[in-house]
Structure formats: structure tokens, C-alpha cells
Symmetry: C2
Subunit: 193 residues, 2 copies
């Protein structure tokens, strides 16, 4: 059954080893930040540094695995109809909007939407790692300069993951203007056996 993450919100849930998670961009040009924790021991979690090291690539897509800080496979990417994701940048947080957007007012953020949804699993804000940012289009040049560009995803694009261990998953529908071309939209997801 497809579940809806409304714009600028998030969700967290358990999935079992072997189950599949499909994350869909229903309208196009929307990003979903995803973090993973071992459901049996939440101190094991998704690691950008370990994933980029073992997969030997900045860009992570079909055929790649998402690895934990304990060097174990958490998920495999079975299919990726868009093909562009980011695993460099931390989730947007209140400070992202204050420092980078020069906006001192309250702004919803992926960081808040991750930790508020993870609270039910006793996972605290400081425990939230760098997320795998599905559909996020971060371009880099040969000098390493980064730019956050509008997502290349079109309506209906999806990424299909298979869990390699029992997991707690948190997902967002991203709240940052630069990440989704200034239009906040929902994200859909579905867990299947």
C-alpha cells in the first residue's frame, strides 16, 4: 500500500531484512532524505563515509549498497529510474536556512522531520547521520565546487531498495527550496515483501 509523506514532513518505520522499499517522487523534482538504523542496535547506522569508500564512488545508484558505520550492508539499490542521488550533504536543518539562506525565521527542515519522527524509536537529534538524499541533484566540478541544482526526477520516478538487515527507516519530503526547485511536494513510499 502506498503511503504519502506530505510536503515538508517526514515518516519513520521498521522494515524487515529482505523487504523492499520503493520511494517515489509522485510529481517530479522533489527530494527525500533517508536515514537508516539497525533495528536491533541503533548505534549501527547508515554511513556516507563507509558507503563512498566501499562503493568507490560519489554517486550511488542501481547496483550499489548502502553501508553502515560498522562496515555492513544495510540496503541494496535494486532499481533507480532517475539515477541521481546525493550522499555528500547533511540534511537541511534550521541552521541551513539561517546560514545559507540568510533566513532568521522558523523554517521546516529535513533534520527536524527526521528527528521528530525518530523520537518514537528513542533516536535523538545528535544521532541523525548524513542522509542518503534520494533524487537530490548535487553537481560538482573538477575543483570540487558543489551546487545544489533542481532534481532531474520526473513524476513517477522511483528508487527501489532491498533491506539487508532489519531496519528503522526515516524519510522526508524535503523542505529546502534549493533542493526541489522552490516547490514543496510530497513523497510516496511503499514497503513490500
Amino acid at each position: 500500500m502506498t503511503k504519502v509523506i506530505e510536503k515538508q514532513t517526514g515518516a519513520a518505520f521498521r522494515i524487515k531484512k529482505g523487504q523492499r522499499l520503493k520511494v517515489t517522487d509522485p510529481e517530479g523534482q522533489q527530494v527525500s532524505d533517508m536515514v537508516l538504523f539497525n533495528a536491533e542496535d541503533k548505534r549501527e547506522k547508515i554511513s556516507s563515509g563507509k558507503t563512498l569508500d566501499f562503493e568507490e564512488s560519489i554517486l550511488i545508484s542501481s547496483g550499489n549498497f548502502l553501508w553502515s558505520n560498522r562496515s555492513r550492508k544495510m540496503m541494496e539499490i535494486l532499481e533507480d529510474t532517475n539515477g541521481r542521488n546525493d550522499f555528500l550533504l547533511a540534511p537541511c536543518s534550521p541552521e541551513t536556512f539561517q546560514i545559507m539562506y540568510n533566513n532568521p525565521d522558523y523554517h521546516p527542515s529535513c533534520f527536524e522531520n527526521l528527528y521528530t519522527n525518530l523520537r518514537q524509536f528513542d533516536i535523538e537529534p545528535d544521532d541523525v547521520p548524513t542522509a542518503f538524499n534520494i533524487f537530490m541533484n548535487v553537481q560538482f566540478d573538477k575543483n570540487g565546487k558543489l551546487s545544489v541544482d533542481p532534481p532531474l526526477s520526473k513524476a513517477g520516478d522511483f528508487v527501489l531498495f532491498e533491506a539487508k538487515m532489519d531496519l528503522i527507516v526515516a524519510l522526508t519530503a524535503c523542505s529546502a527550496e534549493d533542493s526541489n526547485n522552490g516547490s514543496f511536494k510530497p513523497i510516496h513510499y511503499e514497503v513490500t515483501d
Copy 2:
């Protein structure tokens, strides 16, 4: 006073806000993995994802700051005579050698040298984040493919940091063959006011 980190070992120590840390490659082509923790609250620590986001670059050198998971500046890089460092890859760990080097035997690692030295500060292995890898030469192409190449650092090259808060610092003299062109060498460091 210059302190020596012998080959394939590490060190951890406190420095105060405003103090400077100089990390030197005395013989050339050696890497030093560095992690940082807020000395007053060890749940605040260096974050690759926040640093790359705020500095808008994969490559971090003179003039850049190292940021924490709480979006605060931990260090400023005042000088970098070599100019190439890595902030993508997790510290080499026992699994690095098992999985990437296909070596099932015991091998010293930066991860072990970080957490054993951090134990005196009650920091556990699971708390060790992706390190700022001083002098590490990780090249990337436009498709994101990564390769760990011999460091470009020459004997006497150094990076000079200034602490922006009271810190616990851990440093290594890297244990991975690919990172230092197959020759294990020491690292020198000095803390000054």
C-alpha cells in the same frame, strides 16, 4: 613542542578555543585522519556532511572551516602548504582490509587507532565519525568514480588549524597502503597558543 605519532599509531588530546594545531607530514606522502569532539559535550562532533554543505566544496583547505553535526564551527584552516585533503572516506578499519584489500589477517587501522586513543575520553568506536583526512589524495572524475592515490604532500608540508571551541582531537599516522603509497611513516603535530 613537536610530538611524534609513530607509524600506524594515533594520539588524542585536548586543545582550547583559540589554540592552534599544526599537523606535519615529516617525510612526505603520509596521511593523518583527524576527528574532533566538543570537549564540553562529546555528542557534538566533526561532520563531513555539514562541512561540505556550508563550505560548498568537496575539497577543504585554507580558509575553510570544519563544522560540527550541530552546525557550529569547530576549526578554521589557517594554512595548508600541500592543499589536498579528503573528507569523503571513512577511516580505514579492519573491514577495509578484509573487503577492499582482500586481506583476512589482522591489520592496524586508523579506526582502531582513533577509538583506542579516544577511550580515555569515554568515546566509543561507534562514536567515531568520518574523519578529515589530512594530506589524503582522493581523486574523483566527473562520474563520481573515486580513487585513492599517493599523497601529493612533500616532506615538511603542514596544515595549520585554529580551534573555534574547546576540543578533543584524535589524529593518526595512517595504516592503509593505498593512502600513503605503501610506506608507513610518522606524523608530527604541535599545539601552540
